[in-house]
């Protein structure tokens, strides 16, 4: 159980984490979602005691992690696959970690087998691929057989097989009753793995709910229509209780009515339709709408200066919902 109360971290004038209060509970995967620069890594560093909060507190099982009696038994963390000395072999890397916590030496070989690195155990980590480095980082996190696991962007840069492997691992760990806290800027990734979501933007908590609740609350079915009789249709839609927005490309987007209702409405009133298309708002889109104003680095805003208005190039209305893997931070 991880609990944060009013957690705040400032670096000079920049507020990286702004008054966060949340709890991460055992037995499920809690997704920690937000665009790049939203404060996810900083929050994790605060939980682990790498950074000190400017104000507020964060505890792991009731006490600050820096006072943990058996740190590796309590928390296993993968912050960064490269957080190791490249000149050291995989085996020695894990051995020095195990020794510092008085964990049995046999455990090192066990976790190497668990992540499939037994064959390269004596090789120096320098020569490892990103995927292998990630596995070694996960092996380190699993060494102490901890109750809480924290992964910061674990699927970043992995191939599909590696992504699947990590997903299954996290699910298995949560199924064993452990606390799994995983960050990502990929909504689609969370859709597949997380049970619970914490969404942050600009260091602030935007949502704290289940994935299902998040979809229900934040996504809306819309219909795109092309018609030569826009004004007439708009009036009809408004009377029927829907809303209309001009799309700029000659089409309009209707919300509040489903495609069948729109089609029937047009047919009954002899409005000619040239196009009628349902737009499925995905979780990705909901996430982007929710965080659009909280993305820290935007194209066209030099030096990442703050601008609270709608971002240039930000997904303003959610036109195409097809892109399954939109990397929020990188797209902007």
């Amino acid at each position: 159980m991880i609990e944060a109360q009013g957690l705040t971290k400032r670096y000079g004038d920049t507020t990286a984490v702004d008054n966060l209060s949340f709890s991460v509970e055992p037995g499920k995967i809690t997704g920690f979602l937000g665009p790049n620069g939203a404060g996810k890594t900083t929050t994790m560093r605060l939980i682990l005691g790498l950074d000190r909060p400017t104000s507020g507190t964060v505890t792991v099982d009731g006490r600050p992690f820096s006072e943990a009696a058996r740190p590796m038994r309590q928390v296993g963390a993968l912050l960064d696959a490269k957080a190791m000395h490249g000149g050291r072999s995989a085996y020695n890397h894990l051995l020095c970690l195990a020794q510092s916590n008085n964990l049995p030496k046999a455990r090192v070989s066990e976790v190497l087998g668990l992540v499939g690195l037994t064959d390269v155990a004596r090789k120096r980590a320098k020569g490892f691929s990103l995927g292998m480095g990630q596995r070694l980082g996960i092996a380190a996190a699993l060494l102490g057989d901890p109750q809480i696991l924290m992964f910061d962007e674990p699927v970043n840069g992995l191939d599909p097989e590696g992504i699947l492997w990590i997903r299954n691992l996290m699910k298995a760990l949560a199924a064993e009753g452990r606390t799994v806290f995983v960050s990502s800027h990929l909504m689609s990734e969370m859709e597949n793995t997380a049970d619970h979501l914490l969404v942050i933007g600009r260091g602030k908590l935007i949502a704290d709910c289940t994935v299902a609740e998040f979809i229900a609350a934040n996504s809306q079915l819309t219909v795109r229509v092309r018609t030569p009789q826009q004004d007439l249709l708009a009036k009809l839609v408004a009377t029927a209780g829907g809303t209309v927005r001009e799309n700029g490309d000659g089409t309009i987007v209707i919300a509040g009515l489903d495609p069948a209702q729109v089609g029937d409405l047009a047919y009954e009133n002899s409005v000619r339709l040239h196009e009628l298309a349902p737009l499925h708002a995905s979780l990705e889109q909901a996430f982007m709408e929710l965080t659009a104003s909280s993305v820290q680095f935007r194209a066209g805003v030099p030096g990442g200066q703050d601008a609270n208005g709608p971002a240039a190039g930000a997904p303003a209305g959610g036109e195409s919902a097809e892109g399954d893997q939109v990397l929020v931070g990188e797209v902007l």
């Binding site: 950074d51 740190p71 590796m72 008085n102 066990e110």
Partner: protein, 277 residues
């Protein structure tokens, strides 16, 4: 690559029964830090260079001594240990690297998330390095001494370990190297940056000593003996310095030198415990 994990064994698997399993102790962290220092190549390279340079230069200096006439102030022990002037820097490089590589590689984040008690971690790291430096120093200084004396004995200017102050000077060489290493370790911990810390070590051990020469000579008498290199090197000479400016006695000088190392270390540790990692 194919692997689906369904369970993480261990918790009950027999070996988790002992009470201290999972609890960091000084003994465990010392083992951990020793594994760290022995499992990277830079340690071996640096120590190898240290031994070769010290013994090699000492032999050369001893050979040079056989080519001249010497009065009563000739210090055969110090001559054979002359390589320490170079190897103080080599041990300094290792002292910096031992801690700065944690930062340059990012390992520090893993180290501190697996062992958040920073005081324990840094104490163990410093102790392990001090022991490695002292043992290497002992081997190096005795090898330099015996080789040097063997070279000089043919001209009957050599000394033996049982002569006055000689054993103290040879052991002192090892102590001096250890203190140099700890000074560098402290600076590495303060600066967390390899190049910056090494530059500072060179500055403290060499440059400030040279700069003192540009001061008025009446000042030099008061300042020179306080320079780290001047204070520290007294411990490995057997004959008190007679000239001007005056120097500290061997153990006093060494204590002054250790004082500098202690300042760097203490400041480093205080910051280490406070700063974001």
């Amino acid at each position: 690559m194919a692997m689906t994990t369904t369970q993480i064994p261990m918790a009950g698997a027999g070996h988790a029964s002992s009470a201290h399993i999972g609890t960091p102790t000084l003994a465990g962290v010392l083992r951990s830090e020793f594994t760290k220092i022995r499992s990277v190549r830079s340690t071996y390279w640096t120590l190898l260079v240290l031994v070769i340079v010290t013994v090699g230069f000492g032999a050369l200096a001893s050979f040079g001594a056989t080519r001249g006439q010497h009065g009563p102030l000739f210090d055969a022990t110090q001559r054979s240990l002359g390589g320490l002037y170079i190897s103080q820097l080599v041990i300094g490089v290792l002292g910096v690297l031992v801690i700065s590589s944690e930062y340059s590689t990012g390992m520090i984040r893993t180290t501190l998330t697996t062992l958040p008690r920073r005081g324990l971690m840094i104490t163990a790291k410093a102790l392990v390095f001090a022991v490695v430096a002292f043992v290497t120093g002992l081997i190096t200084c005795f090898a330099s001494f015996f080789l040097g004396q063997a070279i000089m004995s043919s001209h009957h200017i050599g000394v033996s370990l049982s002569d006055p102050n000689v054993l103290r000077a040879v052991l002192g060489g090892a102590l001096f190297l250890t203190a140099c290493g700890m000074l560098a370790f402290g600076l590495g911990l303060l600066l967390r940056h390899t190049a910056g810390a090494i530059t500072t070590v060179v500055g403290l051990l060499f440059v400030v000593t040279v700069l003192v020469n540009f001061l008025p000579s009446s000042w030099q008498d008061h300042i020179d003996k306080w320079m780290p290199a001047m204070a520290g090197t007294q411990i490995w000479s057997t004959i008190p310095s007679q000239g001007q400016p005056a120097m500290f006695a061997p153990w006093t000088g060494f204590a002054v030198f250790c004082g500098y190392a202690a300042i760097a270390l203490i400041a480093g540790v205080i910051l280490f415990r406070k700063r974001d990692a």
